[in-house]
């Protein structure tokens, strides 16, 4: 049984990095201090992000699925990333594509749904999970045991898109160490930290998304300064432009063709695009309806409007970062579409320098993700490397008149939090509707709506008397949690933003159980194995902490911790995950104060070299935080 192998406790779990791309996906890991992509049994690294659903219920992923696309266009989902975290009514669902979309039933989440073979309905999250599952199993073949995964997302992905990606990973049974922004991953892959300090731009034109990021590297720390892009612009759009042109040239109306023909012409367009990277013109047989000669010059003209859109985003990012093209120390190219010569020329002109391109633009993101996974797992020896990422868009809530009140401005370094206080507009108002939006525009209607929820049960008061405190917290993955509280009565509510487009926890759990061959039984076995691994990790971390900072504890405290460690060790020898969890919690309780003291020490050391009184003040303040939260701080996230 495969699961026993996967969770073989003797095989050390290896962290992996995954680039879940629009067109291709791949997985990488770090071996001998170098990131390497993992190939399949045919030595192929890139897995086409294509999933085919067969009439007999089988699911095929990758090249084999891509081959089915022409024959079964409706049942073969390509470029699903473009639909991640999108609503069923999103304009993206009305583009040139051969799918059958299903409208959500009343009461169902407003997610995109495809109807595929055997009348099966699948969401983009499920389709993506199939791709991740294929990559996971490929990594398991190579590494025996897969630990946590870093999965990359476009920097410009909004909260719903990130949440959908994380859901897909959970569904695929992956432990997500971190969602990492693709441009930051690319910078890490280039190993810039080794010999550079300076300001860099990352130009990432993938199959379906465009991102530009400006980041400053100093002393091993990557600080993202500005980021921008278009999560609906990429190489696919080049294919569409070519396909439109080809259909026009043979006198066919692009809007009136069968899915089969559309898929064929899109594939022909893609092949033409690839061929045009190395030759000056190609002949294309347009679905047997005519033969067209496409010179590179015409292709360049066709894609010019797309390039202009990327140019505007780049100029904005430079402006936001406060740098001119001349001040940039380098430009990194990411994404297969940057192979197009016209794209390279455009980038060189825009940034006034030849871009760096010595790492395969299709692999650079996955390689960077592997480096980050390795660092997070504590395997990396580069203790000095750290990524400081930011929120790409402002987060706020709707206030009177359809206006957005920004609570957390864009480019806030994550993790971060911010609060704002509001009051009632009407007498005897007993509920507050909170509408969370993301974007830079002043009007709610021009921004992305993330969630709505209502804080209820507030006793009737005169208008302006209630005090509603709204707190936004964004974790290191860029995921938002919102906490609302009426401070005169203490009524509160916390939501992790997901309801608008996501799947709820119960749905994911059910899908996870269904996906395993033997359902509950396997899930139990898997839970036990995972809990044991977790316990081992905690024991190791606790012992290391005891070694490093023993002087922060007296003998009695040390003994208490040692006893709790021994109890946990004892529990891991048993078969009950619940007992192991109880022992983990017990150890957590007795190490809480120790953890706070260690963090105080780390902060004091970090600001070392300052006047002693300043340090003392900070330490004192840090202790204040601890006291404010009590012995068991509530996790807000």
């Amino acid at each position: 049984m495969a699961l026993l192998e996967i969770f073989d406790p003797k095989a050390p779990a290896r962290p992996i990095g995954i680039d879940l791309g629009t067109t291709n996906s791949l997985v990488a890991h770090v071996a001998n201090d170098r990131p390497v992509a993992i190939a399949d049994c045919d030595s192929v690294v890139l897995l086409p992000s294509v999933v085919a659903y067969l009439p007999d219920g089988d699911v095929v992923v990758g090249r084999d699925a891509a081959e089915l696309a022409a024959e079964h266009p409706r049942d073969t989902i390509v470029s699903v990333k473009r639909l991640m975290g999108r609503g069923a009514d999103d304009p993206e669902t009305r583009r040139l594509a051969p799918y059958e979309f299903v409208s959500p039933e009343p009461g169902q989440a407003n997610a995109v749904r495809f109807r595929v073979a055997a009348d099966r309905i699948v969401t983009p999250v499920e389709v993506s999970a199939e791709i991740l599952r294929a990559l996971k199993s490929r990594a398991e073949d190579e590494l025996q045991s897969v630990g946590g995964a870093v999965i990359t997302v476009p920097a410009y992905f909004d909260d719903a898109q990130r949440q959908a990606t994380k859901d897909a990973a959970r569904l695929a049974g992956l432990d997500v160490l971190r969602l990492l922004n693709e441009p930051t991953a690319a910078a890490l892959a280039y190993g810039l930290e080794k010999n550079h300090r300076g300001t860099f731009a990352v130009y990432d034109l993938g199959g379906g998304t465009f991102d530009v990021t400006v980041l400053v590297l100093d002393d091993g720390v990557f600080q993202v300064k500005a980021t921008g892009g278009d999560s609906q612009l990429g190489g696919d759009d080049m294919d569409r432009s070519i396909a439109h042109d080809l259909l026009d040239q043979v006198g066919l109306d692009p809007a009136a063709q069968t899915p089969q023909l559309v898929r064929r012409v899109l594939d022909e367009a893609r092949r033409a695009k690839h061929d045009l990277t190395s030759c000056d013109g190609v002949h294309v047989d347009v679905a047997d309806r005519g033969r067209v000669f496409l010179p590179r010059a015409r292709f360049d003209v066709l894609i010019q409007p797309l390039l202009e859109r990327t140019g505007a985003a780049c100029r904005r990012a430079l402006k936001d970062a406060g740098v001119t093209p001349q001040e940039l120390d380098g430009v990194i190219l990411v994404g297969g579409a940057t192979r197009v010569p016209a794209v390279r020329r455009f980038v060189a002109d825009l940034f006034q320098k030849e871009p760096l391109g010595d790492i395969d633009p299709d692999r650079v993101v996955a390689l960077g993700a592997a480096v980050q996974a390795d660092l997070l797992a504590g395997h990396g020896r580069r203790d000095d490397v750290l990524l400081l990422d930011v929120t790409p868009l402002s987060l706020g809530i709707e206030v009177g008149g359809g206006i957005v009140d920004k609570i957390l401005p864009r480019y806030s370094t994550v993790p971060c939090a911010a609060r704002a206080t509001y009051t009632t507009r009407e007498d005897h108002q007993t509920g507050f509707e909170i509408h969370v939006v993301q974007g830079e525009r002043e009007l709610v209607a021009d921004n992305r709506s993330l969630a709505r929820f209502t804080l209820r049960g507030i006793p009737p008061m005169a208008a302006g008397m209630a005090r509603l405190e709204v707190k936004f917290q964004v974790d290191a993955n860029g995921l938002l949690a919102v906490h609302a509280k009426e401070t005169t009565t203490g009524i509160e509510q916390t939501v992790t933003v997901r309801p608008s487009y996501g799947l709820d926890d119960a749905t994911i759990q059910r899908m996870l159980t269904d996906a395993l061959d033997h359902g509950e039984e396997d899930l139990d076995r898997r839970r036990l194995a995972e809990t044991r691994v977790e316990a081992g990790r905690i024991l190791l971390a606790t012992r290391r902490a005891l070694e490093a900072d023993a002087d922060l504890l007296d003998e009695g405290q040390k003994e208490t911790i040692r006893v709790a460690c021994a109890a946990l060790e004892q529990a891991t020898r048993g078969e009950q995950p619940s007992q192991i969890h109880a022992s983990i919690d017990a150890l957590d309780k007795v190490t809480q104060a120790f953890a706070a003291h260690r963090m105080n020490r780390a902060m004091a050391r970090a600001i070392g070299g300052r006047p002693v009184d300043a340090i003392e003040r900070t330490v004192e303040h840090a202790k204040g935080i601890e006291a404010a939260h009590g012995p068991q701080p509530q996790g807000v996230v």
Binding site: G378, T542, T618
Partner: protein
């Protein structure tokens, strides 16, 4: 919360932003959650709490308006837009004129005019900042709330310039 204490810096309006960024970086190196992925749940929680605090402190201190607000509240002065007095007629007129000019420049897609207006407001904003800095050093009390209101007007204007520049790029 005292963002100055969190960052271990002196509680004053004039800040060396370069040094502040280095301090933020060193603190991040010590407490960023990425450093504690393999740690105990307690340390993870602590790291997250501290990182959020440090980042919030940095966000406040590097922004002139929020920095002034933080200093005044630390001196026990209640701050917030609803507490600021209505602007003097002269100032209001000035702002209205600037806004009208900005709206015209936007309509004409005249980037130069937008830059010119932004520069003029930046100069005034710096002047107001100097006023605030001097006031906070000598008499950090409610008499400064009006000056804070001015700075808020300028900042809002410059935010709008930012949005228009994005549009005209």
């Amino acid at each position: 919360m005292d963002p100055f204490a969190t960052l271990g810096i002196e509680r004053r309006y004039d800040v060396d932003l370069g040094a502040l960024e280095r301090t933020h970086r060193e603190l991040s190196r010590a407490i960023h959650p990425d450093r504690y992925v393999g740690s105990t749940a307690g340390e993870k929680r602590e790291a997250l709490t501290r990182a959020v605090e440090v980042n919030e402190a940095w966000r406040i201190v590097r922004n002139p308006l929020r920095r002034a607000e933080a200093l005044l509240s630390l001196h026990g002065v209640a701050v917030g837009e609803d507490r600021e007095p209505s602007p003097e007629p002269e100032f209001l007129l000035e702002i209205l004129e600037q806004r009208e000019a900005l709206s015209e420049a936007r309509g004409a897609r005249d980037r130069r005019a937008v830059h010119r207006l932004a520069d003029a407001v930046r100069t005034r904003s710096r002047h107001t900042e100097r006023e605030l800095s001097a006031g906070l050093a000598t008499r950090p009390d409610a008499s400064l709330v009006g000056t804070l209101g001015k700075l808020r007007f300028y900042q809002r204007f410059l935010d709008e310039v930012d949005a228009i520049e994005d549009e005209l790029v």
